[in-house]
């Protein structure tokens, strides 16, 4: 089982969390071009290696936090301790 360390609740099974994808900067909707917006929507980074992601502890403290995960091995490192 893959375990992820929630900064609030500690080490828990991955099934308690929801994956919300790699951390991407949302372009400003007021000034973005359609091309940039489609890039943001449809072209995720898909590296085979470390990636910085947002996870949501849906069956625990229900907080979002940032973690780094190696997509080749599924090793997870929590980045921001005590994030609320």
């Amino acid at each position: 089982m893959i375990q992820i360390r929630c900064p609030w609740c500690g080490l828990r099974g991955a099934g308690e969390f929801r994956y919300t994808g790699d951390v991407r900067t949302r372009p400003d909707p007021a000034s973005v071009t359609p091309q940039e917006w489609r890039d943001y929507l449809y072209f995720p980074a898909n590296p085979c290696g470390p990636v910085v992601e947002t996870w949501y502890h849906r069956m625990g403290c229900r907080r979002f936090f940032t973690a780094e995960r190696d997509t080749a091995t599924n090793e997870v490192w929590t980045l921001e301790e005590g994030m609320r």
Binding site: A14, Y19, P34, R38, F43, N46, T71, N74
Partner: protein, 431 residues
């Protein structure tokens, strides 16, 4: 293609592969002599007219149709492992064409047609078994989507209709169609032409037929870089040496974004594992393929008697193909909700394959902004059933330089232009 069809000197064989017959079976069986190799190993040439990256059903089909339909035989298929060892070998090998969009229905139905005639045209038994395909509806929303799909299918002349619980019970007596089930079955989309096939045989059949036409299949050959000069493909570098070529076709699954990156092309793809499992073999009791989108499961019984279970993709993107206990637990619960009689069945093994998920659950096929770099990727959870038609269409695309009508809707440019082909309602778990 610029180089065109070129006769290549020094090819040992050409034309049709040797036929299998009852006589050869008897002769080899009685004499104990070795069967000839199904395809040959060749030294890596310094140049090819077309290099296909990925030796699965898509890559080998494209190579075969390039040689068979267009006379382009100076083709190399490169695979970093062994042929059919990726998505083709991990697929649950379900064939159907009851999709949701007119583009999708037409495309997958052509594939089903090619599969139907494959054993004869390749001279290889691919064990296509048309058992019918049932997609269960457990709520009003899914019943509505089934009705929608049936209408789209019927307009295109495809045998597909919504049936009720009493008919479902006749087709699959072991299914719990009672009203007290946790997820009551309200109806199903029934697609009689759907079925299952021996996936390894499809890969081997294409490899054998392509090899006989002069295509080189190179296993254990990993592409490490693609040379692009002035926006035109010039060659590929591999762990066994460099190859110069004007055309590269990316037919990989899982690693498609990484291969495309080598040519400087970005793809709208994220890689997710999908897990499947197989039980011990039992007597034949399940004829059609049974799918439940709500329960994220599809079940079929192979000719050997094993039940093959598949699921939806794992909940997070990854390149890892390790199985998980959560999957086995969830799968068992869902299968038992459908067929309580299976509670004593034992799982033999589970595995995972990599699925290239696109935003609209449709593939990406055709040329790219780099001249000579073609893609046949983004095959999510529906790639195996599309292998023959993709190979046929991509071969035509490369040979003529024009995008065939049947794949025109699936170009990479659709994401820039905003013309997505939404197949989630029919492709997400509906295998």
């Amino acid at each position: 293609m610029a180089a065109g069809a070129r006769a290549t000197a020094g090819r040992r064989r050409s034309g049709r592969p040797p036929r299998y017959s009852a006589f050869t079976l008897l002769r080899h069986g009685l004499s104990g002599e070795q069967w000839p190799r199904v395809w040959q190993e060749h030294p890596l040439q310094r140049s090819y007219d077309v290099v296909i990256v990925g030796g699965g059903v898509h890559g080998l089909a494209a190579a075969y149709y390039l040689a068979a339909n267009h006379g382009i035989t100076n083709v190399a298929v490169l695979d970093k492992g062994y042929i059919g060892g990726g998505g083709s070998g991990r697929s649950t090998a379900i064939l159907r064409s009851n999709y949701l969009t007119p583009e999708g229905v037409r495309f997958y139905d052509r594939s089903l047609h090619l599969y139907d005639h494959m054993a004869a045209s390749l001279g290889y038994n691919v064990m296509f078994s048309r058992r019918g395909h049932l997609t269960l509806a457990h709520n009003d929303a899914s019943l509505r989507t089934m009705r929608w799909r049936a209408e789209v299918n019927q307009i295109q002349g495809i045998d597909s209709d919504v049936i009720g619980p009493s008919e479902i019970r006749k087709l699959v007596p072991f299914l719990d169609v009672s009203e007290k089930a946790r997820y009551p079955i309200l109806g199903a989309l029934y697609h009689p032409p759907g079925g299952i096939i021996r996936h390894d045989a499809v890969v081997w059949g294409y490899a054998r037929a392509a090899d006989a036409l002069g295509v080189h299949v190179h296993q254990q050959t990993e592409v490490t870089a693609i040379d692009v000069v002035d926006g035109q493909v010039r060659g590929v570098r591999t762990n066994r040496g460099d190859i110069s070529t004007p055309v590269v076709l990316n037919c990989t699954a899982g690693w498609s974004t990484l291969v495309a990156e080598m040519a400087g092309v970005r793809l709208p793809i994220q890689t997710f594992p999908l897990q499947a499992a197989v039980t011990e073999p039992v007597r034949a009791f399940l004829h059609p393929v049974v799918v439940s989108g709500t329960l994220h499961v599809y079940v079929s019984q192979t000719d050997r008697g094993e039940l093959v279970f598949g699921a939806s993709v794992d909940p997070f993107a990854s390149y890892s193909t390790r199985g998980s206990l959560e999957f086995a637990e969830g799968l068992a619960g869902h299968v038992l909700a459908l067929m309580p009689g299976l509670s004593r069945m034992r799982l033999l093994r589970q595995w995972a394959g990599l699925c290239d998920m696109t935003p609209d659950f449709s593939p990406v096929m055709g040329g790219t902004e780099v001249a000579g770099f073609y893609v046949d990727v983004g095959w999510g959870t529906y790639g195996f059933k599309a292998g023959p038609v993709s190979g046929e269409a991509m071969a035509e695309c490369i040979a003529t330089g024009r995008t065939p009508e049947i794949i025109a809707a699936f170009g990479l440019n659709r994401f820039g232009e905003g013309f997505l082909v939404g197949e989630k309602g029919a492709a997400a778990v509906g295998h």
